[in-house]
Symmetry: D2
Amino acid sequence: MQESFPCIEELKDLDIRALGENRFDSPFIKRSRRFTEDDSRVLVYSNIRDAHECEQCGRTPPAFEEAGPREKLFFDGKKSVAGIVTCGGLCPGLNDVIRTIVMELYWEYGVTRILGFRHGYEGLSSNRRKEPMTLSPDAVQDIQHQGGTILGTSRGPQDVDDMIDTLRKFKVNMLFVIGGDGTFTGAHELAVRIRELGLKIAVVGLPKTIDNDIYCSERTFGFGTAVEEGRKAIQSAHHEAKAAWNGIGLVKLMGRDSGFIAVHSTLANSDVNFCLIPEVPFTLEGEGGLFARLEDRLKRRQHAVIVVAEGAGQDLIAGEREKDPSGNAIYKDVGLFLKYKIKAHFRDQGIAMTLKYIDPSYMIRSIAANAEDSGFCILLGQNAVHAAMAGKTDMFVGYWNHHFTNVPLEVAVGKWKAVDPLGEYWQSVVSMTD
Amino acid sequence: MQESFPCIEELKDLDIRALGENRFDSPFIKRSRRFTEDDSRVLVYSNIRDAHECEQCGRTPPAFEEAGPREKLFFDGKKSVAGIVTCGGLCPGLNDVIRTIVMELYWEYGVTRILGFRHGYEGLSSNRRKEPMTLSPDAVQDIQHQGGTILGTSRGPQDVDDMIDTLRKFKVNMLFVIGGDGTFTGAHELAVRIRELGLKIAVVGLPKTIDNDIYCSERTFGFGTAVEEGRKAIQSAHHEAKAAWNGIGLVKLMGRDSGFIAVHSTLANSDVNFCLIPEVPFTLEGEGGLFARLEDRLKRRQHAVIVVAEGAGQDLIAGEREKDPSGNAIYKDVGLFLKYKIKAHFRDQGIAMTLKYIDPSYMIRSIAANAEDSGFCILLGQNAVHAAMAGKTDMFVGYWNHHFTNVPLEVAVGKWKAVDPLGEYWQSVVSMTD
Amino acid sequence: MQESFPCIEELKDLDIRALGENRFDSPFIKRSRRFTEDDSRVLVYSNIRDAHECEQCGRTPPAFEEAGPREKLFFDGKKSVAGIVTCGGLCPGLNDVIRTIVMELYWEYGVTRILGFRHGYEGLSSNRRKEPMTLSPDAVQDIQHQGGTILGTSRGPQDVDDMIDTLRKFKVNMLFVIGGDGTFTGAHELAVRIRELGLKIAVVGLPKTIDNDIYCSERTFGFGTAVEEGRKAIQSAHHEAKAAWNGIGLVKLMGRDSGFIAVHSTLANSDVNFCLIPEVPFTLEGEGGLFARLEDRLKRRQHAVIVVAEGAGQDLIAGEREKDPSGNAIYKDVGLFLKYKIKAHFRDQGIAMTLKYIDPSYMIRSIAANAEDSGFCILLGQNAVHAAMAGKTDMFVGYWNHHFTNVPLEVAVGKWKAVDPLGEYWQSVVSMTD
Amino acid sequence: MQESFPCIEELKDLDIRALGENRFDSPFIKRSRRFTEDDSRVLVYSNIRDAHECEQCGRTPPAFEEAGPREKLFFDGKKSVAGIVTCGGLCPGLNDVIRTIVMELYWEYGVTRILGFRHGYEGLSSNRRKEPMTLSPDAVQDIQHQGGTILGTSRGPQDVDDMIDTLRKFKVNMLFVIGGDGTFTGAHELAVRIRELGLKIAVVGLPKTIDNDIYCSERTFGFGTAVEEGRKAIQSAHHEAKAAWNGIGLVKLMGRDSGFIAVHSTLANSDVNFCLIPEVPFTLEGEGGLFARLEDRLKRRQHAVIVVAEGAGQDLIAGEREKDPSGNAIYKDVGLFLKYKIKAHFRDQGIAMTLKYIDPSYMIRSIAANAEDSGFCILLGQNAVHAAMAGKTDMFVGYWNHHFTNVPLEVAVGKWKAVDPLGEYWQSVVSMTD
C-alpha cells in the first residue's frame, strides 16, 4: 500500500540514536532465540533500477535499520520503569498495542513497573487531571476486544520540560508514544531535549494513523479495519442510491492529506462511481467537472455513489484553514459541502434527485481491530519494546518490504505518504469508477 | 414488543372485507395441508382481566381474524395477475418480502404473471418514469442478500383513479402494498375506490416500519436488524466518550413517533446513560433537565452516552413542523440540535468537554435483514398471498400473540404504537441508565 | 415461535408457590413505578375458540401469573443473600442474564451480597472444586460482551440435602438457577425439599435452552443468536455444494427433541433443500426416502443443501441410547451418520458426487448474544429478581403472548415444546425446500 | 507474511517467456496512463546483506519482473478469446478475481468473448459435463458478494493434449488459471506443450491458496479472510474451555504444509495456549510433550486452547499417506486424532476434563472475501490481464516487496513457503502461548 516513495534526498541519515553502551545480556539468550544484528538493513528501494542508480552515483542505497530483539540491552528490565501514552484520534488497535507492550515488557524482559499516562500528552504534564494508571498483565488481559484506548487520549502538545519533569518524577526510563505525525513531532522534541539534558530515557514511537499516511512505513494498524468498515458504508450508500430515482449516495471517509482509505474502500467495493481524494484535484462546474459527470451518470444509470476523502476538495471551500491544538489543519467539511452543492445544482437544473449522505467516521475509528490489524499490532508492539530495551531512542517502528524497521523520528515528521495519481492503485480506481 | 395496547373503542369492527364468494379450491388441498378456518380469531387482550371486562359488559372481547391459507379461493391463480409495490423509506427485509410473495404466488398458487411497479406509488401513475418489471422466481432468487428494494421506492401519494387505471391496464387483480402508515392510508383509499367502482382487485398491505410503530401489530420486519445495528453505533459512541476527558457520545436513532429502536438498542447495550424518546418529554435547562443530569454524570464518571430517537424533543426546537410529500411531519434534526446545545452549554459553563455525534440511520435502514427478520418476512409474505388469493382486501397482515392476523387497514391508519412510559420496557431503561 | 401448544390437561394448576406473607414495602414505591397486581393473568390460549371452549365446559380458561415487580416483598433486600448458578451447555446470553440479576438486585433492591456458584450444581455441593465468587456491579460490568458463562457450568445433579447445606452455610435465601429441563428438574427437587424443611429460600429458574424447547415459554434467550449463526453455516454449505459437480452441503444444527433452530435457520435461508427434524420422521431408502429425493434433486440441479437437527433420525441409527450425567439421552451423531450413508449410497449407485459436512454447534453456542437476545435477557433477569424478592419459589420466568410470566417448575419439567408438522412454520419449510 | 525466503539457487532464471513480438499499441496510450517498463525488476532480497552478498560474488542479485500494463501488446483485444478456469478447494476471493478479469478484459482491452470453463480442468477436457459459460460484465456484476466460485471447481489434472484441443476448438488464445500448486503444475505442463506445438496461447496463473504457501509470493488472496474467521473459531473454543472445569478447546485450522493460518490466527487472538504447525514437530508423550504441557497448564489455569494446523503432527499418525486426484497428499485428520488421544490420556490419568473440538474449515473457505482480500484480488486480476495481453505465458502473478510481479510457473511448482521456526512470527507465537 506504499505509493509515493520517499525521496532519496530525505533519507540521508537513517541511523538510529542510542542512549549509550549496551551492557546487559538479553534474557532471550537463555531461550536460544535468534537476534537481529544491529547492522542489518532493509533497502528502501526494492526496485532494481532505483537501487542501482544509487550505487552508480557512488553511494550506498538508502536502507532502514531492521527492527528486532538485540543480544545486548541498554536497560536492566528489573530496574526499569516504562511509560505508555496514546495521543490524537481513535484508531482500531490502540488497545492491542498497549496490551502487547505490557505483555512483552513484563513476561519477556522482566519490566514490572509500567505506567499508562492518561489522555495523551496532557497526562505527562504537571496539570494532568488524572494520575497514571498501573498496567499489569492482569489489567490488560482482555482489552484488545474493546475499541478506543483504555488510557484515553487528547490532542495537542504540552511543555517539553514539564513532561520531562513528570517522567523523572515517576522514574520512567522508556516512553512509548503511540500517535501520528503531530504526536511524533512532540516525541522528537522530547527526545532532543532529553538528550540535551543528558538523561537516559528512551523515546520510541508507534505510528498510529488510520489514514495510513505515516511517511516511511508501508503500513499502519487500523487501516485494514477502516477499509472493511468503509466498504460497509459504501454498500449502504449504494442501496440507498439504487432504491431512489436519480438517487445519489455520498460517503465521506477519513483521509486528511492522503486518500488511501477512500481508494482501498473503492477497490474493495465495485459500486463506487466517483472517488475524490486530496491527491487528485477536481472541479464542480464546467466540462469534466463533478456536476457534468454526475448528470451524465444519472442519465445513463439513474443512480450514483460518491466516495470523498475528508481532505479532498479543500480548495473548493472558501475561507481560511484553521489549526487544531495539535497543529493539524482543521478541514472544512467536504461531505456537507458536496451535499449542499450537489442538491443545489440539480435543483437549479430542475432535475429531480435524492441524495443520502453518510459519514461513518466515528463509527469506524472506535471499533476493535480486525484480525489482520490485531496481528500486526502484536509484532509492532514487540519490536517497539525490543528497540527501547536496546536503548534506541528518537525513533519509531515502521514496516517496509516485509520487515519491521527502526526509523528516526526526524525523517518522518512533517511529511506524509500520499496516493500516486499515476500509480497502480489510483489507476485501478480510475478504471473501475464512473 | 407491543407496548401501548390498542384502545377497545378503536377496535369495534375488525371484520375483513372480501371481494365476493370464494369458488375455487385451494391447490393446497391436494397436498393435505391444514387450513385456517375463516372464523378463527386471535384475542387482542391476552391479559385475563381485560378480556373478562369486555365479557362482563356484555360484548365479545375484540379479536383479530387469524391469517393463513383458506380452503376456498376467490381467484384462479392461473388467470391472475399480481402487482407489488414498495413505498417510503428503506427497511431491512424489503427484498425478502418481495421474494416470498413471488415464490408463494408462483410455486404454490400458480400465479405466473407478477409485476413489480417501480419507485412506489409513482410506478402506478400514468406519468411513471419506468414500466413495471416482470418478476419470476429466477429474477428474485438471490435478492434477499441485498439491502434496499429491487423495485425502488418513493414517498408521496398519487391520484387514486389514475393508479386504478394502471392496475386495469395491466389486468392486475391483486396488489401487494409494502409500506408504513402513509402508504397504508393510500392503500385504504385505493381499496375504497376500487369497491366503489365494483372492481375485483384485492389490496393487501404488508406493514413496513423500521420504527416498529404500526398499530395493531406486535412486530414488524426490519426492527430487529435496526436494533442490532443501533447497538453497534452506541458501542462506538461509548468508546469515543470513554477515550476523552468529559467525553460525550451522542447517537441519533430512528423513531419518529415512537422510541422502540432507541429503547431496545439501549436494553441491548448497557453503556447508555440517557435515552430520549418522543413518548417521554424532557427539558434541557433547570433541575432535572438534561444539562444538569449530564453535568452530574460527567462529574461522577467523566463520560456519558446519549441515545436520542429522531422524534424526541421536537417541542424544544423552535419553529413550525412541515410535512413531506407522504404527509409525514418533517422532523427537525434533534441530533444536530442537541449537539450544538450541549456544546454551547458546557462552553458557557466553562467546562471542558468533547462531543462526538453519530447518525447511523442510512447505514442501518439500507442493509439486508438479519436472520430473525428474514424468517419473519417469509411468513408475513406467505400470509399476505393467502389473504389475497382468498379475495380479502383493504387489510394488512399483522402479528399478534404468536399468530399472524388479518387486520382492516382502516383500524390502523393514522394511529401508531408507542412506548408506554409506565410499561416494563421503559422502566427497564430507567433502571439501567444515568 | 410457539408451536405445539400446551395441552389443557397439563395446565390444571398454574398457581405460584410463595414463601410466606409479604411484609416489606418495595423500594420501587418511592420511585412511583407501576406494579403488577398479583392476580394479573395471561391467557394460555389467545385463540378465541380455545378460550371459549374452556369457558363453555364451565371452567376458567388456563392462564399464567403475570410477572413483574410487586408492591409488597417477602425479603428485606439489605439482609438478603442471593446465589446464582448456571448449568448445562453454553448458550448465548448467559452472561447477560448473570449481569442483569446482579445489577437489579444491587441497584434496585439493595441486595449487596450476591454469590456466583461455580460450574453448575457441582458448585453447590460440599465437594465443590471452587468456592463461590462474589458478584458486584463492578465485577459484572462488561461480561455481556463475552460468550460462555463467567461462573462456569457442568452437567448432572447433586445431592439435594448437600446443596441445601451449602445454601444455609452461605446464608443464601434466594437462588437463581439458569438452565434447561434437566436443571429445572433439579431445581424443583431442591424447592420441594426446602419446603419440607420449612426453610425460607426462594428457588427461581431462568429458562436456558438454545433449542427454544422449554415448555410453556414462547421464547428463550440464545435462540435468535443461534438462528443467525446457523444461517451462516448454511450459506457456507450452499457455496460448497454449488461449486462442485453433484455437490452436497450437509449442516448439523442443534435441536435434540425439537427442530426449531433447523426450521428457523431454513426459513432465514432460502438455499436449503432438505430440512430434517426430530418431529418429522424420514427414511433413507425407498420411494420418498432421502436418497431418492437427493438423487432427483441432483439430477435436476446438480447441488443440494441438507440441514439436519441433531435429534432427527435417531430411529435410523442402530443401538441403544445412553444418558448423560444430567439424564438427557445421548444422541447418536446423525450428522456423521448421514455423511457416511449418503456417500456410501452414491458410491454404490456409481454416481459421482462430493459431500461437505459442517457442524458449527460449538461455534454457535459459545458466542455472545445478539442484540435481540441481549435485550430479552435483561427483561428476563429483572423479572426473575422481582419474583424472588416477592418470595415466589419453585417457579421459572417464561414469556407468553407478549407478557413475561411466572410458571410453576412442575408444569414444565419432563416436557418440551416441539415443531408442529401441520403448523405454519413447518408448512413454510415444506413449501420452500426441495 | 513472507517467512522462509526462497533460496538463491532456485532463482537462477526468473525471465518470463513471451509468445512473440508485441505489435499492437495498448489502448491505455490514449488514456495517458503510465506503463511498466518490461525490464523493471523487483529485488528478491530487500535485506541489504543478502543483496550485497550476491553482488560481491559477481552476479546480479535475483529479481522478479515487475507486473503492470505494457505499452505494446501481443494480442489484439477485439480479436481475442479469453478463458478462465478455477481449480482445487474453495478460497475467499475467487469470484472477485473472476469478476476483475472479465471487467478488465472487456472494458480496458476490448476483449468481448470470455469463456468460463466449468468445474476446474475437467471443463477443459472433451468429456466435460458442462459447456463453458459466457462471461460478460453483466453476468459478473455482483458475484463478488458470494462465496465459492460461479465457475465451479474440481480437483485433479486432465490430459494436456485433450485440453489444448478444447482451447483450440473455442479459439481461446489466453487462459487464466486460478489455483494452487497442483493446478500450477498442470498449467506449466499445458504451457510447455502449447510451446512445443507452436501455438500462440498465453497461460497465466493467479495463485489461489488459502494457506498462503505459494512460493515466491508474499501474499495470496483469501488468507486474510481465513485468519479473521479462524480467530472467531478460537474465540468460541476459548469460551467453551473457560466454562468447563479443566476445559480444553481444540481448533483445527487449514494449513497442509505450512502453518500461516494457525500462526496468524494465534497472533490475532491472545487466548491460544498451544499452536501446532507442520514446520515445528511435537511429541505427545514424555517431558516437553503436549500431554505434559497440557497437564501443567490445566493445573495452573484449569482451561486451555489448542490450535492445530491440518498438516501438523502427521508423523504421529500411523500409516501411509495417500494422494488425492490432484496429487496432493491426503492428510490424516490430526484434529480427530488429537481429540481422541488427549481424551484417552486424561482418562488414563484419572483426571476429569472436557474437550470441545471445532473444525471450521468449510465454513471459512466458502465465504466471500473481506475488504482487504477483495482489494487485493482486483489488483491481482488486473495484472494477470496485463500480462496475458502482452503475450507473457507460463507464469503467474505474485506480490513481493510491495510490487506485483510476474514469476515463471517453473520456479514455484513443487515448492512452498513455510513458517520459519526462528523467524519473528513463530517467535511471537512462542512468547504469547502456553
